[in-house]
Symmetry: C2
């Protein structure tokens, strides 16, 4: 399943004395530094442990009283919740710092990490496609509106200019027809934008939330594992036998939590990938077909317009034909 | 050639006492009120007599010392120029006010006035076409730039997504080809914009400047004609015999000036009309041909792209085909 990375020799205090600033650093930043992973954009909140009203961390399914297994039969008071949250946060931060210093081992699933990294990359790339398609739809909408206005302006002039009537009517009908056919392409563009938006910002995002929870649970699991390992190395006596039992319980609980989330992530990634390929296949095909339909319809409309006006269509043999007409 | 309209009974002083504000009114505004002609936009300077450094009116070929025929053999001093300009301006303003009050006759050439009105209307309408074509060119430029970027983004994804490689390549090549062909249409649009701009803001504008000069000379001519008529009605005696002679000279001079400008306007209008029809015929044909070439080239490019990818092209029988694909 996963492998444990190496540990170092320094103490936490040594590290804190040397690097006071890192106390306030986000765990994700520390982690990203450890793994030399490329940074994600700032607007994105990664595997964090932020406060929600000084209570439970967001996007994280807590153990009974947030981290520590409680023996109390009574519901935990607010102060106890804060205390336990603080202990858990301290342990996680310590674990991250130790990982950074190479003093503590780290559970790593290379295959899964690679898949997660690929997913983040895919979201970024699809986000770029989405942005461009949105721009394109907006620009095309303005363009067909101008075509419509120009068509109307030409029509008005055709009525007032008998000497240029045919030329104005011809251009008016062309622009109006292009504008009308453009609406179908615009609908397709908007449908593409809407579908890619759902895929990118809802479907992929949902899996990324589970991934964030999985990443939090990995840190917690490693923190309680380190705790247990440390206690296990100490000589067993009456004073620490209870602490070892507690640590064993906490470790077991966080291990189950971590494995559950790991399996959730694997399942979600599989389904997401199938869904993504299906959605994108359909959307890319639709996008291409809509483009072809737009040019085919316009080509047909223009050809019939040429017949109507008895104009012999010039064969567009070279792509720069329009430019060559300029010189005539 | 032209006919003289009726005159009224009020004096200038009566009018000035009642309508102090009109003293500062632009002659063109007064004139346009007289004729109940639709007002032109404010940015346009009509048949005016504006000052240029307190010297000669702009766009107006003056008589030797601006209005009055000078008997002096020496070059007129600055004060004399100002004095003569003031006399001329006073006479013209008085003439305009009298025309407004129906007290003075007005030389009107209905046919020419109609042609001038039509030219102003044409300039306005072509200005609208120009504005729309400019917008269209700008929007289309943005659109093809986005197509190019989208083509590149699709190409990048095609390399990183083996499962959707064909779909991405297909769309990438389509967008890149459309963007490339779009440049020809953009060139044609820009050429259309440039030609209509020259026609609208240079060729037509040049004739309109002559028309403004003609309209100024018409007011001056009528002012000196009214002067002469007034003097002719007075009993002839020694004290006014010189004044009648001067008035006769001034009248003759302004009559010649007016007739010269009138004939200039007629000639310019004729040539302008021929030129306008020729330019617009060529431009409208080029615009239409460029549009056809764009859609034909794209149609061909898309068809060959379909062959390359062994896709059977769907026949676009209905204009709303692209929309119908959305439901599939």
């Amino acid at each position: 399943m996963s492998r444990i990375s190496s540990s170092g020799d320094h103490t936490v205090h040594e590290y804190i004395n040397r690097n006071v600033e890192t106390d306030n650093m986000h765990p994700a930043i520390l982690r990203s530094e450890i793994e030399a992973r490329p940074m994600r954009p700032r607007s994105f909140v990664p595997n964090s442990l932020p406060l929600k009203n000084t209570a439970t961390p967001r996007g994280y399914t807590p153990s009974p009283i947030n981290g520590e297994i409680s023996n109390s039969k009574y519901p935990a008071s607010k102060i106890e919740v804060i205390k336990n949250w603080s202990v858990s946060t301290y342990k996680c931060t310590k674990q991250l710092i130790n990982e950074k210093l190479g003093k503590s081992s780290k559970t790593v699933d290379i295959e899964l990490e690679t898949e997660i990294e690929q997913l983040r990359e895919t979201q970024k790339k699809y986000g770029n496609i989405l942005k461009l398609a949105k721009n394109m739809a907006a620009q095309f909408q303005c363009f067909i509106q101008t075509q419509q206005s120009l068509g109307e302006a030409f029509a008005e002039l055709s009525q007032k200019s008998p000497e240029l009537q045919q030329e104005f009517i011809q251009n008016s009908e062309t622009q109006k027809s292009l504008s009308k056919n453009g609406e179908s392409l615009l609908n397709s563009l908007n449908f593409f934008v809407s579908s890619v938006n759902t895929l990118c910002n809802k479907t992929i995002e949902d899996t990324l939330i589970t991934i964030k929870q999985y990443e939090c649970s990995r840190i917690e699991y490693d923190a309680y594992r380190s705790d247990l390992e440390m206690l296990a190395q100490m000589p067993r006596n009456e004073s620490n036998i209870d602490r070892v039992d507690d640590a064993q319980q906490n470790y077991q609980h966080h291990k189950e939590e971590f494995e559950k989330l790991r399996s959730d992530v694997i399942v979600k990634l599989k389904f997401l990938d199938e869904n993504r390929v299906k959605v994108m296949h359909k959307q890319l095909l639709m996008f291409h077909n809509a483009t072809i339909a737009y040019f085919s319809n316009n080509h047909q409309a223009l050809e019939s317009s040429l017949k109507q006006f008895n104009i012999k269509p010039k064969s567009p043999t070279t792509p720069s034909l329009a430019a060559s007409w300029l010189e005539k």
